[in-house]
C-alpha cells in the first residue's frame, strides 16, 4: 500500500523536476555545469563551476491528471492532483580543487486521488507521498580534466494511503469499509557519487550513481473506517510495517559546447526497479493478515536530450525532450501509479538581471499515449488473480520558476 507511494519514487511515476535550468534541457545534466543544480545531477561537476559561490532555488507547480474508463463495465473516473516540488542547491568552492555543497530537493511530492469508492477503490482511493532529500556534497578535482564527487543522502518522508478493504464490504449503512495507512517521518540514508571527465575543452562526460534507499516505515498508523459491527473486532486500529525500496539509479551523459551560443546534452538513465517485487504491509495486530501486493517491477531507462542557446549575456533559452520508460510490467498496472511510457517536452529560459543574479523559468509537458492496462493480481478470498483495468490516459504539466545567484 505504501508501495503506491514508492512507485511514485521513480520510473512510471517519477516526474523529474530537480532544477529549473536543467529541466528546460530535458532534465539532462550529468555532464553539464550550468549552475548549482549540478549538485543533484552529478556532484562531481560542482568543482567545475566557474564562480566561488553558486546558489539555485526553485519550485514547480505540478499538475498531474489521469482519466480512466472501461467499456466492459461502463466505468469512468479521473484524478486531478497538484504538487509543489522544490529544490535548493548551494555550492562553495573552498579550494581550487574542492567544492562543498548542500542539496535539498523533493523529488516525489505527488499524489493520486480517485473518487472515494470508485471502481478501483479496492486497490487505491488516494495516496499522498512526500519525501525530502537532504544531501551534503564534496566535489574534488583530481586533474584539470577529471573530478569526482558525492555525498550521503538523508531522506525524510511520509505517505498516506487509503483503500477499501474489499470490493464489497460495507458497514450497516452501506458505507464501504476502508483502511488508511499513515506513515510519518520515515527516514533513511543513501548516497550518490559520480565523476566528470572533460577529454577536450568543449566536451564533458559524466557518470552518476545514486544508491538504493529502502524506506522502512515502522509503526505507521493503520486506521479502519466504516466497518460493519462484526468486523470491528477483527480490524482494530493498529500499526504496520512496510519497506519501500527506492531503486539504485545510474546516469551517464555527455555535453558538447558547440560554440559560445549553443550547448547540447544527452543523458541516459537506468533505474534498477527490479528490487520492487511487492508491497508488503505487515500489521502489528496478528489477527489482520499481512497484505502482499505483487509489483514485480522491471528495470527502466530514460533517454534525455537537451540544448541551450545563449543569444546574449542576458538571456539563455532552453529546450529538451526525453523518453521515459515505465517500470511496470503488463498485468501489474495499478491505479496508484497509473503511468505508462511517456515523452517529456521541456523548455525554459534564464534571464540575468545582472551578472550575478538571474531568474529561471521552465515548463514540462509529459505526453502519455492512452493505454489499455490492468492490475491482475488482486487477491480476493484466496483467488490471487482478480483483475482491474481499463483504458488510462495521463497528462502531466508543470511550469516552474527559480532564482540563481552566484559570485
Amino acid at each position: 500500500m505504501m508501495a503506491l507511494a514508492t512507485s511514485a519514487f521513480a520510473g512510471g511515476y517519477r516526474v523529474s523536476l530537480q532544477g529549473q535550468q536543467q529541466l528546460g534541457m530535458g532534465h539532462t545534466g550529468v555532464a553539464v555545469t550550468n549552475s548549482a543544480e549540478v549538485l543533484f545531477f552529478n556532484p562531481a561537476g560542482a568543482v567545475f563551476l566557474k564562480d566561488r559561490f553558486n546558489i539555485s532555488v526553485g519550485a514547480n507547480a505540478l499538475f498531474a491528471r489521469t482519466k480512466f474508463q472501461n467499456e466492459t463495465y461502463n466505468w469512468k473516473d479521473s484524478t486531478e492532483n497538484t504538487g509543489t516540488p522544490f529544490s535548493l542547491y548551494a555550492s562553495y568552492k573552498a579550494m581550487d580543487w574542492l567544492a562543498l555543497g548542500l542539496a535539498v530537493y523533493s523529488p516525489y511530492g505527488s499524489a493520486v486521488e480517485w473518487d472515494q469508492d470508485w471502481a478501483g477503490s479496492h486497490l487505491v482511493n488516494n495516496i499522498d507521498l512526500k519525501a525530502i532529500y537532504i544531501q551534503p556534497i564534496a566535489s574534488i578535482r583530481l586533474t584539470d580534466k577529471f573530478s569526482i564527487g558525492g555525498g550521503p543522502i538523508f531522506v525524510t518522508g511520509g505517505v498516506e494511503f487509503n483503500r477499501n478493504l474489499t470490493r464489497s464490504l460495507t458497514d450497516e449503512e452501506g458505507n464501504r469499509s476502508d483502511v488508511t495507512l499513515d506513515a510519518k517521518n520515515v527516514t533513511a540514508w543513501g548516497w550518490s557519487a559520480g565523476f566528470m571527465f572533460n577529454p577536450v575543452d568543449n566536451i564533458r562526460l559524466g557518470l552518476n550513481y545514486r544508491s538504493e534507499i529502502t524506506m522502512e516505515a515502522r509503526d505507521g498508523d493503520a486506521t479502519f473506517n466504516d466497518l460493519p459491527a462484526f468486523a470491528q473486532g477483527i480490524y482494530t486500529n493498529t500499526t504496520f510495517n512496510a519497506d519501500l525500496p527506492l531503486p539504485a539509479e545510474i546516469t551517464a551523459g555527455i555535453s558538447w559546447q558547440i560554440n559560445d551560443k549553443w550547448l547540447v546534452a544527452f543523458d541516459y538513465n537506468r533505474a534498477f526497479w527490479n528490487v520492487y517485487e511487492s508491497l508488503t504491509v505487515d500489521f502489528a495486530n496478528p489477527g489482520i493478515a499481512t497484505s502482499v501486493n505483487p509489483r514485480n517491477y522491471k528495470d527502466a531507462s530514460t533517454f534525455r536530450f537537451g540544448t541551450q542557446f545563449k543569444p546574449n549575456d542576458k538571456l539563455i533559452l532552453r529546450a529538451g525532450i526525453y523518453h521515459d520508460e515505465s517500470p511496470v510490467r503488463k498485468g501489474y498496472f495499478a491505479p496508484e501509479t497509473p503511468r505508462n511510457d511517456s515523452m517529456g517536452y521541456t523548455g525554459g529560459l534564464t534571464y540575468m538581471i545582472n551578472a550575478n543574479f538571474g531568474i529561471d523559468v521552465s515548463f514540462l509537458y509529459l505526453h502519455f499515449d492512452q493505454v489499455d492496462a490492468s492490475y491482475d493480481h488482486y487477491n480476493e478470498d484466496g483467488n490471487p488473480n482478480v483483475s482491474f483495468g481499463g483504458t488510462y490516459k495521463n497528462v502531466v504539466f508543470s511550469p516552474g520558476v527559480g532564482l540563481n545567484y552566484r559570485f
Binding site: 467499456e71 460495507t170 462484526f230 543569444p311 529546450a319 517536452y345 529560459l349 478470498d381 483467488n383 482478480v386
Partner: protein
C-alpha cells in the same frame, strides 16, 4: 525572436493539451440496444425474478433483483422506467411478511451463534394491496401455471386450505381476479425476461420429495402437459404484441447449495459425541454392538444387509435415513430380534423405526435445513432413548432428504421442462439464458471477465467476498443476481446484436453478518 515564437507556441500547446482526452471517450453512445427495444421491459418469473434472497424479499434485497440490475443497463440504450412492487414499508429492511405464518424475516449470519437465522425484529411488510402492474412481475413461490391463475392475488384465497392465493401477488394484483401474466401485459412490454418453472420442480425437491411427481400442489412436480401448455401460453401472450425477450432454463437441484451443502456422511466420532471424540467413540462401539450390528445381522439374513453399515470410529459415517421405496422389514426385524432375546417391546420399537431405514449414500441429497435437525430428538412417540437421535439412531424422515430416486425424478422433470422452454423460445426466436448449464459450471467454478471465480457453494467466512448464494441456499445474493444479470446481458448482446455493459459482480454485497442477533 524566432525562438521566442517557437517557445510560446510550445507553451500554448502544452496548456491546451493539459486535459487528458481519450481517442474514444466512453459515453452512452458506446452502447446500443441492437435489435431490441427496452422502452418497456417487463420481467416475469418467480422468486428469482423478484429479488428474493436470504429467505425473503426485503427492501434492499429487492433493489438487487436481476431485472432491476438489467434495467439500469437498459437505461443506457433507451430503456424506460422500471418499477417494482413497493417495499417502502420495510423501513428496517427485515423482509418477511407480517400477519401470516411462515414468512420470517431475512436470514443473517449471527457471528456469536455461527449459523444463519432470521434477523431479530418484527416484519413491517403488510399485505396491503398495491393494485398496480409493475415492470418486475416476479412472484416468489409462483409455478408456471400460477401466472395464468385468476384469483392468485385474491386475499380471500390465502385463508383457504390449501391456499389458492400468493401473499406476494396479493400485494401486487390489480384486482382480485387478475392474473400475473395479465398484469404484466398491462405494461405493454417491448422486451421481457421470463424465468419461470423452477418451482415446478423445486417445490417437490425442497420438501424432500414428499409430494407427488405429477400434481399441482406446493410440494408436487408439475405434470409435463400442464407445464407445456402453461409455458407456451405465457410465451405466446408475452410475444403477442411483438415483444422480444429472453427466457431462462431451470437449474438442476444438484447445482444448488440447499441440496449440496450438508454431506450425506457428516457423522464423525466427534460429531456423534457432541464434540467429544472419546465419548463419540464409546457411543459408536456401543451402537454397533447393541443396535446397528444386531439389526444389520437380521437384515443380512433377509438379503438386505447393505442397508446399514457398522459405524466407524475413524471415518465419517453416513446419516441414517428413511427410504420409503424400500420393502418394510418391520415384521422380520421384530421377529428375529425377539427370537434372539431382545425384550419384546424393544424389538417391536426397533422393527418400526428400522423397517425402511438405511444409511445414506452420496446419491442422496440432504437438505440444508436438515443440518439443524441431525442429532436432535424426533417428535415421534417412538423416539425413545437411545433411539432418539435423528440421523444417528432414528432415521431422518422423507422430508429431510431427497433420496436418489427422488433426485432422478427431479432431474428428469427438469430436463423435460427445459426442453419445453427451449422449444418455445426457438419457436418465437427468443434468446435462451441456459441457467441450467451456468449453474452446472458454477459447481466446479465459473471464471468471469475479471478473473474472479464463483462457485455454487454455500456461505463460509472464507468466501465472504465471493459467495454468490444467499443464506437460504436456493436463491442468489446480490452478487449472484449481478452474475445472473451478466449472463442475461451476454445472451441479449449476442442474440439481439446489442451492446450492453456488464456489471461488476464482485462489487455487489454478500451475506449480512451481525456480531449478535
Amino acid at each position: 525572436m524566432k525562438n521566442k515564437v517557437i517557445y510560446l507556441a510550445i507553451l500554448a500547446a502544452g496548456f491546451a493539451s493539459c486535459e487528458p482526452e481519450f481517442e474514444n471517450e466512453l459515453s452512452n453512445g458506446n452502447y446500443s440496444a441492437g435489435d431490441a427495444d427496452f422502452s418497456s421491459y417487463v420481467a416475469i418469473g418467480n422468486s428469482l425474478t423478484s429479488g428474493y434472497m436470504d429467505g425473503t424479499v426485503s427492501r434492499v434485497g429487492q433493489s438487487y433483483s436481476f431485472p432491476n440490475i438489467l434495467a439500469q443497463q437498459f437505461a443506457l440504450v433507451g430503456g424506460g422506467e422500471f418499477t417494482q412492487p413497493s417495499y417502502a414499508e420495510d423501513t428496517n429492511n427485515l423482509g418477511g411478511i407480517s400477519g401470516i405464518p411462515g414468512f420470517p424475516t431475512r436470514l443473517v449470519i449471527d457471528a456469536s451463534a455461527g449459523g444463519p437465522e432470521p434477523i431479530a425484529g418484527m416484519s413491517t411488510v403488510t399485505l396491503t394491496p398495491q393494485a398496480s402492474a409493475f415492470n418486475n412481475m416476479g412472484v416468489p413461490g409462483a409455478k408456471t401455471f400460477h401466472l395464468l391463475a385468476a384469483g392468485y392475488g385474491n386475499p380471500a384465497g390465502l385463508a383457504q386450505n390449501p391456499p389458492m392465493a400468493n401473499p406476494y401477488y396479493v400485494r401486487m394484483a390489480t384486482s382480485t381476479t387478475s392474473t400475473v401474466l395479465g398484469d404484466a401485459m398491462m405494461k405493454n412490454p417491448t422486451f421481457f425476461t421470463n424465468w419461470i418453472g423452477n418451482n415446478d420442480v423445486l417445490g417437490y425437491a425442497t420438501s424432500g420429495g414428499t409430494g407427488s411427481t405429477a400434481g399441482l400442489g406446493g410440494a408436487d412436480i408439475t405434470p409435463a402437459p400442464v407445464f407445456d401448455q402453461s409455458y407456451n401460453m405465457i410465451i405466446n401472450t408475452l410475444t403477442s404484441g411483438g415483444a422480444k425477450g429472453v427466457v431462462a432454463t431451470i437449474p438442476n437441484v444438484t447445482a444448488i447449495p440447499f441440496f449440496t451443502t450438508v454431506p450425506y456422511n457428516p457423522l464423525t466420532a466427534s460429531a456423534i459425541g457432541g464434540g467429544n471424540e472419546a465419548n463419540g467413540t464409546a457411543l459408536i462401539n456401543q451402537l454397533n454392538a447393541s443396535l446397528i450390528g444386531p439389526v444389520k445381522q437380521v437384515l443380512t439374513a433377509f438379503g438386505q444387509g447393505d442397508r446399514l453399515q457398522l459405524l466407524s470410529t475413524t471415518e465419517a459415517n453416513p446419516l441414517l435415513i428413511k427410504d420409503e421405496t424400500l420393502t418394510n422389514m418391520q415384521p422380520q426385524l421384530t421377529g428375529a430380534l425377539t427370537a434372539a432375546g431382545v425384550p419384546a417391546q424393544q424389538a417391536a420399537l426397533i422393527g418400526m423405526i428400522f423397517g425402511q431405514a438405511r444409511h445414506a449414500t452420496s446419491q442422496d441429497l440432504v437438505l440444508l435445513t436438515t443440518r439443524s435437525v441431525i442429532g436432535t430428538a424426533p417428535s415421534s412417540p417412538l423416539a425413545i432413548d437411545p433411539l432418539n437421535k435423528y440421523g444417528v439412531t432414528y432415521p431422518l424422515d422423507d422430508q429431510h432428504v431427497l433420496i436418489a430416486s427422488e433426485v432422478a425424478d427431479v432431474t428428469a422433470a427438469t430436463t423435460t421442462f427445459n426442453n419445453i422452454i427451449r422449444t418455445a423460445a426457438q419457436a418465437k426466436g427468443l434468446g435462451v439464458v441456459d441457467m441450467n448449464a451456468i449453474m452446472n459450471q458454477l459447481v466446479s467454478g465459473l471464471r468471469v471477465e475479471d478473473g474472479s471465480i464463483y462457485t455454487a457453494n454455500y456461505f463460509s467466512t472464507a468466501t465472504l467476498s465471493t459467495v454468490m448464494f444467499s443464506l437460504d441456499g436456493i436463491h442468489p445474493n446480490a452478487r449472484g443476481y449481478a452474475l445472473i444479470a451478466n449472463e442475461v446481458i451476454k445472451v441479449i448482446n449476442s442474440h439481439y446484436n446489442a451492446k450492453l455493459p456488464f456489471v461488476s459482480a464482485g462489487s455487489y454485497p454478500g451475506a449480512t453478518v451481525l456480531p449478535s442477533n
